[in-house]
Amino acid sequence: MERFLDPRTLSRIKDLPLVAKTVADGFLHGLHESRMRGVGVEFSQYRQYEEGDDLSRIDWKLFARSDRYFVREAERESEISVWFVVDASASMAVASEDADGWTKLDYAKHLIATMAYIAGRQGDSIGLMALYDDSAAITPLGTGDQHWSALLRKLVTVKPGQRFPAEDAAKQYLPLLQQHGMVFVLSDFYQEKSEIYDFVNRLAGKHTEVIAMKLNCDDEENFPFTGPVRFEDAETGEQILVNARDAQQIYKTARDAHTEEVRLTLLKRAIELTTINIDAPMDQALYDFLRNRSRVVR
C-alpha cells in the first residue's frame, strides 16, 4: 500500500481542512513510526546534545535506545510565530498538463493548511500572507483552531493575480512579517526582475528565519513535450513557438541554472531552499523537508 497520499487523490477532496488534517495526521503517524523520532512536529522538544548543555536535560531512555544523546526540551518556553507567505502570481496557477491535479497555488494552499495545522497543534501563532500584483491577502498571526479555520477561509479566497508585487509594493508588508519566528515563502521564483529575491532578502533578519519552498510541477521539471508547441508565459502572455523535443535540453539547462541561481541567491542570506514537486505526495514532501531540516539543525 502506498504510504504517501497521492496529490491527485487529494485534489478530488474539495474540503481544505479535511485534506490538511488528513495529510498532517498521516505525516505525524509516519513520523511516529519512523526512525526520525524527535525531529517531527515536536522537533523543538528534542535536540542533539551540544557541549555546554545541562546533563540533566539528556533523555537517558532515548540514549539507551539510540545510543545517542538527546536533550529534552520539554516545552518551548515561548511560542514562535509562523508566517506563511505565498506567491499568488499567474505563474503559480500552472499545473502539469496531464496531471489533472492541483496547480502550484492549489498545492501551496494545501501545504500551508497542513503546516499551519501542525504548527497550530504545537501552539505556534500562524499567519498568512498571499501576495499578488500590488496587493496582499492577509490573515494576521493567531492561535487556536478557530484561527486556523479563519486562515483556511482566507486561503480559499486567494486567487492568482498577474505578478508578484514590485519591490516598493512588497516592502510595505515586511514589518508585519519581521517578527521572532519563521516565515515560509512558497513560490516558484519566476519573477519579472528580482522582486522575489529582494523581498525574501529583506525579510531574512536576525530574528526571522526564512524558509523558501520552491514549487515545481512535473512538466516544468521533466519538460515532456514534443513537436511544435507554442509555450505561453503565464504572467506575460508571451508566446514562443519551438520544437519542444529539440528545445528540451536547452530548457533543462536554463532551468537548472535558474534553480541554482535561486539557491545561491538565497544562500547568501542563509535562507534554506526546499524544492517541492507538486505532483509528488505532499506528506512525502513534508517528510523530506523535515528530514533535510533536521540535518541542518544537527
Partner: protein
C-alpha cells in the same frame, strides 16, 4: 510559333469548383497541431534561446507543407478542368481556324501573313475529321466566345466536312488563292429553278443555301425561278443546272434550255423507284458520309446523311443524257434543305467535285505532327501538359509526405 498565342483557359471550367478544395489544406494549416498546440508555462525565459534557433525552421516547414498541399489540390483541379493553354483564349479575342487543306497548301509566307494579321489570336488547326466544326462550334459556344472567328480554308467543296455550323460569333472567311484559282472555272452558275408558287418556303431555303455558298465559297450564281407552265419562256437561255421542285412523274423535255448532260437535279418529295443501280462510291455524297439504307437493287433504297436526314430518295439516269436525283427536301426543320450540311451537299452536286474531292482530301498532311488527343477535330499541344501536371503532383506529394513524416517524428 503558331500555337503559342492565347492565354490559359480551361476546357471544363466547372471543374474549377474543385479549387474549393484548397480550403482543406488551409484549414489544416490553421487548426493542425503542427502549428503548435498551446501550453502555458510558468516562464518561457528558459526557452528563449531555443525559440530563436527553431521558430524560423518550424514556420518554414509549416508554410512549405501548406504550399505543397495547395499545389497538389490546385494541380489536381487544373487537370480536372482540362487545363489547356492554347485553346480559345479570352472571350473577346480573335480565334483563327485553319483547315487541313489550307494548312497543306499554305506556304511559309501564308503562315507568316496569318500571324501578322492576327498577332494576338489563338490559332487552331483543324484536323480533318468530319465532326471538327461541330466540336469547335460547341467549344466556342460553351466558352461564350464573342471574338471574331477567322477561318482559313481552301475553296474546295467539302473540305470542311458535311457539317456547316452556325456560329453565333462573327466569322470571316479567308480562302487560299491556290484553291480558289483551281476552282475559278466553276465559280459561276446559271441555274434555272422550276417551282410552284406554294413552294416558297423551299425556295427560301434554297436561297439561303446559295447565299451561304456565295458568302463562304465565293460561288457566283444566277437563279432564274419559273413556274412549270412558264417553262417555255426560258427556251433559248443556257443554264448550267436545272433544279426541278414540283412533284411530277417525269421531267419535261429540256432540250431547248442548253442544259448539259447530267445537270438536272430533280428535287422531289416522297419515295420514288430508281431506274438504275447506282453505288454510293460513285456519287459525290460519299464525301459527306451519306450512307445507303434499304436495298437499292430492288429500287427501294434511300440515302441518309450522317445526321440521319433522308437525302436522295430517287435517282433516275436517263441514259447518257440525264441524271435525275430526287431529294426529300421539304420545308420542315428536319428536312434536308434545312440542315446545315445542305449547302455543301448542294455545292458538291453543282461542282460535281467527286473526283476532285477525293484527290484533294486524301490523307492531309499537317505541319504539326502532334496527334490529336481525342480526335475531336483540333489539336491542343498543351493537353500534353496534363502528364507534366500529374508528374508535378507526384513530386509535390512526395515532398508533402517527407515533411509530414518529419513533423510526425518530431512530435
Amino acid at each position: 510559333m503558331i500555337y503559342s498565342s492565347g492565354t490559359f483557359t480551361f476546357l471544363n471550367a466547372v471543374g474549377l469548383v474543385g479549387l474549393l478544395t484548397l480550403l482543406i489544406p488551409i484549414l489544416i494549416h490553421l487548426f493542425n497541431r503542427s502549428k503548435g498546440r498551446r501550453v502555458v508555462l510558468g516562464s518561457v525565459e528558459f526557452l528563449r534561446t531555443a525559440a530563436m534557433q527553431r521558430v524560423t525552421e518550424i514556420r518554414l516547414k509549416q508554410y512549405l507543407l501548406l504550399a505543397f498541399r495547395l499545389g497538389i489540390f490546385t494541380l489536381a483541379t487544373f487537370i480536372l478542368a482540362e487545363f489547356a493553354g492554347n485553346i480559345a483564349g479570352d472571350e473577346d479575342r480573335e480565334s483563327v481556324f485553319v483547315t487541313p487543306m489550307w494548312a497543306q497548301s499554305a506556304t511559309d509566307t501564308d503562315w507568316q501573313t496569318l500571324e501578322e494579321n492576327h498577332p494576338d489570336a489563338v490559332v487552331h488547326r483543324i484536323e480533318g475529321d468530319d465532326t471538327a466544326w461541330a466540336h469547335i462550334h460547341q467549344t466556342l459556344t460553351e466558352r461564350e466566345h464573342s471574338g471574331t472567328i477567322h477561318i482559313y480554308a481552301s475553296a474546295t467543296a467539302g473540305e470542311i466536312g458535311s457539317s456547316w455550323p452556325e456560329f453565333a460569333q462573327p466569322v470571316t472567311w479567308h480562302f487560299s488563292n491556290t484553291s480558289a484559282s483551281a476552282m475559278d472555272s466553276e465559280q459561276s452558275y446559271n441555274i434555272l429553278l422550276v417551282s410552284n408558287p406554294e413552294q416558297l418556303s423551299i425556295l427560301n431555303n434554297l436561297q439561303t443555301a446559295f447565299d451561304r455558298l456565295n458568302q463562304h465559297r465565293a460561288i457566283d450564281y444566277t437563279v432564274t425561278v419559273t413556274a412549270p407552265n412558264a417553262l417555255q419562256n426560258q427556251t433559248g437561255t443556257l443554264f448550267d443546272w436545272l433544279i426541278w421542285l414540283p412533284e411530277t412523274s417525269e421531267l419535261p423535255d429540256l432540250s431547248g434550255f442548253g442544259i448539259p448532260p447530267k445537270k438536272a437535279l430533280f428535287f422531289a418529295r416522297g419515295s420514288r423507284p430508281t431506274d438504275e443501280t447506282v453505288t454510293l462510291p460513285d456519287y459525290p455524297f460519299s464525301r459527306f458520309h451519306i450512307s445507303e439504307i434499304g436495298d437499292i437493287q430492288s429500287g427501294h433504297a434511300a440515302w441518309i446523311t450522317g445526321s440521319g436526314t433522308p437525302a436522295l430518295v430517287t435517282f433516275v439516269s436517263n441514259g447518257a443524257m440525264w441524271h435525275q436525283a430526287g431529294f426529300n427536301l421539304g420545308a420542315g426543320s428536319s428536312d434536308l434543305l434545312a440542315k446545315p450540311e445542305f449547302p455543301i451537299i448542294l455545292l458538291s452536286l453543282l461542282q460535281e467535285t467527286e473526283g476532285k474531292l477525293d484527290r484533294a482530301l486524301t490523307d492531309p498532311v499537317y505541319r504539326d505532327t502532334a496527334a490529336s488527343p481525342d480526335g475531336a477535330g483540333y489539336s491542343h499541344p498543351l493537353s500534353d501538359l496534363s502528364a507534366w501536371l500529374v508528374l508535378l503532383i507526384a513530386l509535390l506529394w512526395v515532398g508533402e509526405r517527407i515533411l509530414s513524416e518529419r513533423q510526425s517524428r518530431d512530435r
